[in-house]
């Protein structure tokens, strides 16, 4: 009997997937930490293949991002838009509304803010001008987010494609303004929009523009909104199950519209902070992929606003650090993108190991990475 059992074992599939029971928090964090480690190891292999010793490269990346007050400020400046746009898309994602149009919403916000910065800076006192710019930016982003939501609510269009295409429309709008109506005459034909007057520039606190305070406040507000407010509760229910939301008497389309207005407004605000706080002008590269990286930020933090702070700073560190390694090691800038991609891949991939385990033929359970 036992002999046949052994024989039968030999025919067993080599690897089987079995469902795990719910695992403890500590174990879940351990798996995530292992995934992070694994992504760094994979990145190290890549660096080795490029002919570099990975350890000094990693070290220089960290030094390049936090090694001095100057670079730290630079890192924070990169993190601010990532964080706020991340909050924006997280609201939509929580509702399972795939808003990948943050890029376009950022640009439209920036366009609206720039109008006031360029043409109304003399008519308004500075504080009022900055507030009006902020409100205009939020309105611009909100409208850019609202349109796909309207179509989704009314005709059930695919919001992923819709928001994606809206990015290109926004980008072309900016190009049009840059090459046409808003071209700076002082540039003598070079297609560039004028730098903002000092009145239209954001003040600094601790030598970084005031946007970081806005970001911290927004993290707290969005966290409270999602967990404590009725509207946040509605977002969760709609995201989990639309039939349940309808059953509970919620107006699903209203939740779609309202949430996309907020999501778009946050992205629009991001655009404002970029033009008024960092670049002091509007250009085709104002959004510069922030809207897409924000999606990464939102997912890596599991849509949790508090965790998003850490993730945004971490990704900013990678971007800033890769500038450094470009100069010291001549590693292309794209290396940071590859590393971010690897981390995302491993972090999202490890979710599988939170729910399933692999069983190798000898019967030992191995929740391997």
């Amino acid at each position: 009997m036992s002999a046949t059992k052994v024989a039968a074992r030999a025919h067993e599939p080599f690897v089987r997937i079995i469902k795990k029971d719910t695992i403890s928090r500590g174990r879940a964090y351990m798996i995530r930490a292992l995934a992070l480690l694994a992504s760094l190891v994979a990145g190290a292999l890549l660096l080795l293949a490029l002919g570099h010793n990975p350890l000094p490269v990693y070290r220089d990346m960290v030094i390049g991002a936090f090694g001095s007050a100057f670079v730290t400020k630079e890192t924070v400046r990169i993190a601010i838009p990532l964080l706020i746009a991340g909050l924006g898309v997280a609201l939509a994602f929580k509702m399972r509304f795939w808003n990948i149009g943050a890029e376009g919403q950022i640009l439209m916000g920036a366009v609206c803010a720039t109008y006031f910065a360029l043409y109304q800076y003399q008519t308004l006192p500075q504080a009022l001008l900055l507030i009006v710019m902020a409100l205009a930016a939020m309105a611009g982003g909100a409208i850019w987010g609202l349109i796909p939501a309207l179509f989704k609510a009314r005709w059930n269009t695919n919001e992923t494609l819709f928001t994606l295409m809206f990015n290109y429309i926004a980008l072309e709008c900016v190009r049009f303004l840059q090459y046409g109506p808003w071209i700076d005459p002082k540039q003598r034909g070079f297609p560039k929009i004028a730098m903002f007057e000092p009145a239209a520039r954001l003040p600094k606190v601790f030598d970084v523009h005031i946007g970081w305070i806005v970001a911290v406040v927004l993290v707290a507000l969005v966290y409270l909104y999602l967990t404590k407010s009725k509207q946040g509760y509605e977002i969760t229910v709609v995201g989990e199950s639309i039939p349940t939301a309808r059953y509970a008497g919620m107006s699903v389309s209203r939740v779609f519209l309202r949430t996309m207005v907020i999501s778009g407004a946050l992205c629009g605000l991001t655009g404002y902070l970029v033009v008024a706080g960092a670049n002091y002008t509007l250009s085709e590269s104002t959004a510069g992929g922030v809207g897409f990286t924000a999606i990464t930020v939102a997912w890596l933090s599991n849509l949790n606003p508090i965790v998003m702070v850490i993730v945004a700073v971490f990704i900013a560190m990678l971007q800033r650090g890769s500038n450094t390694i470009q100069t010291t090691f001549k590693i292309p800038l794209a290396a940071a993108d590859v590393l971010t991609g690897l981390i995302l891949f491993f972090m999202l991939g490890c979710e599988f190991f939170l729910n399933y385990a692999l069983v190798i033929r000898d019967g030992k359970e191995k929740p391997n990475e």
Binding site: A8, D21, Y247, G249
Partner: protein
């Protein structure tokens, strides 16, 4: 192990164990089925019947244990392995391609040349049909078939592939009593032809009617195997539940039964533009449980959702009468219905997909309909928390706590959360769609008690059921639906199962059947 000659045993399972995470679905289960025998595999929901059979048909792989077919030890790694060994399973949910004919579905996936040669295949299929007594048109498209015909295709599909051992997972759940009888006739023919048949079920009457032996599972373990002729409903229940259970359902007749919902001429079209409900008219009374019987998909879901304001209504009226209040519900959205002061509660069929939010905890789930009632921007979770605690205590809900996602609770406890929330809203009308589906005996009786309690409080209860025995025992009256129309309204106390079965399949000639029922009963039929 068994005193029988090995050649007689078609399939033998020995000490099969299978775990999912910490849940032990099967623990050291052994059973065998012989050629020319019908074995009933009996057990409550969640006792591991289907898991065990899925291992036999190659869908799961056992953690340990041995399977032998015709006395030879085998390893079944995939459904194909199972087929090669002559084991075929007919699943509860059919796996057919709608746009293909019966023949095409039957030969689908089999090896062969480029040409199917439909005529030859159809002839083979006709032979199988004639041999066992199936009635099937090989050229009929699946989307034109009734549930029973689809099941026939599934069974022939398995036979066509040369199966000697057939496993049927709850085959009667979707059939009318008449169709069930026909199926049993066919199963007996197959048995006489030397096939080994395993039928998974939790309906005791059917076990006694069809099987030769019964293997009972309880909580994943094998309780024992008995000869059917030595078994009774009582002994089988005790085996299944582990103690003796009172299977009587109380039915108290109340004197005060005022009309509460008057539904007339209700017509709804589904997404394809087909009438899901067609001129449905009946009255639901307070202090009474009105059962809705019908084959699955006869319009039950649409009826419930129309009453709850969730389904678009073409025409007709749903009049709500409570005291001196009269409201027309057609044209109102769920939120508007609540605003008008209409107290309807609805326990939907899809508990975790519609009634509850699976990933949220109990507190967030019990406030699903009431979170708007407090003032202000923020959610007040104090009252829902208190309600959740009350429900846990009163309905004996087994849960690690109010902050555990409801998805982690067992089926019975999920239903208690849902039903508890709906009842706690003090409804005047309670619509319960398949409230005991998938529940064990104990939880089912808790649900019946809760519904009876509501009835005594004067609530009008609309009970959508599938088990005719339960419907006839629990309800005061039955509305029978057939293809979206009311084919009869009968008094449950004086109506037989056969009559209801006839009504369930009789769409057109409503008057005739009603008259027939009237003659048979002498009373108790109204339309």
């Amino acid at each position: 192990m068994t005193p029988l000659a090995a050649s007689e045993v078609a399939v033998q399972l020995t000490n099969i164990t299978k775990t999912f995470g910490k849940v032990c679905a099967n623990q050291n289960v052994s059973l065998n089925v012989k050629k020319g025998e019908i074995l009933a595999l009996l057990g409550e929901n969640g006792s591991g019947k289907t898991t065990l059979m899925n291992m036999l048909s190659g869908i799961y792989f056992p953690d340990s244990g041995q399977i032998s077919v015709d006395g030879r030890e085998v390893v079944i790694r995939s459904p194909k392995d199972a087929f090669d060994l002559g084991i075929g399973m007919i699943h509860q949910h059919f796996k057919l391609v709608d746009v293909m004919t019966a023949t095409e579905n039957i030969v689908l996936g089999l090896r062969g040349g480029m040409n199917i040669n439909r005529a030859a295949r159809a002839k083979e299929i006709k032979e199988i049909s004639a041999r066992y007594g199936f009635v099937l048109d090989p050229d009929k498209k699946v989307y034109n078939m009734s549930v029973s015909e689809k099941q026939t295709v599934e069974i022939i599909k398995v036979l066509y592939r040369g199966a000697n051992t057939l496993i049927l997972d709850e085959p009667t759940a979707v059939l009318t009593p008449q169709e069930t009888d026909k199926l049993f006739e066919i199963l007996r023919n197959m048995k006489n032809d030397g096939k080994a048949i395993i039928i998974i079920t939790h309906k005791l009457n059917e076990v006694l009617q069809i099987s030769d032996r019964v293997t009972i599972l309880r909580k994943g373990a094998c309780v024992g195997t008995v000869q059917t002729r030595e078994a009774s409903v009582k002994s089988l229940t005790e085996g299944m539940v582990g103690r003796s259970v009172n299977l009587e359902i109380a039915r108290e007749k109340l004197n005060q039964t005022p009309d509460r919902l008057r539904i007339s001429g209700l017509t709804c079209k589904n997404a394809e533009g087909v009438k899901a409900l067609d001129g449905v008219s009946f009255t639901v009374r307070g202090g009474e449980i009105l059962g809705v019987a019908g084959i699955a998909g006869s319009g039950q879901k649409e009826l419930c959702e129309a009453i709850a304001g969730l389904y678009p209504i073409e025409s007709g009226s749903i009049l709500y009468i409570h005291g001196d209040k009269t409201e027309e519900l057609v044209g109102l959205k769920p939120a508007q219905i609540v605003q008008k002061g209409v107290h309807t509660a609805f326990v939907p069929e899809d508990r975790l997909g519609m009634g509850l939010v699976a990933s949220l905890d109990m507190v967030d789930n019990v406030m699903l309909k009431s979170y708007r009632n407090t003032k202000g921007f923020l959610v007040d979770r104090k009252a829902p928390k208190a309600l959740a605690d009350t429900l846990i205590e009163r309905l004996e809900i087994v849960t690690p706590g109010t902050s555990t996602p409801v998805r982690r609770l067992s089926g019975g406890n999920v239903q208690k959360v849902l039903l508890g929330r709906e009842i706690s809203s003090d409804p005047a009308v309670l619509v319960a769609a398949y409230p005991v589906r998938g529940l064990d005996i104990n939880s089912s009786y808790t649900v019946y008690d809760l519904l009876n309690e509501q009835k005594k409080k004067g609530v009008a209860v609309l009970f959508i059921g599938e088990d005719l025995d339960v419907l006839l025992e629990l309800c005061d009256r039955l509305v029978v639906l057939c293809a979206g129309r009311v084919s009869g309204v009968v008094d449950a106390a004086v109506t037989g199962k056969e009559q209801v079965g006839l009504l369930m399949t009789h769409a057109g000639g409503q008057a005739e059947i009603d008259a027939g029922a009237k003659n048979a009963n002498g009373k108790g039929v109204e339309t």
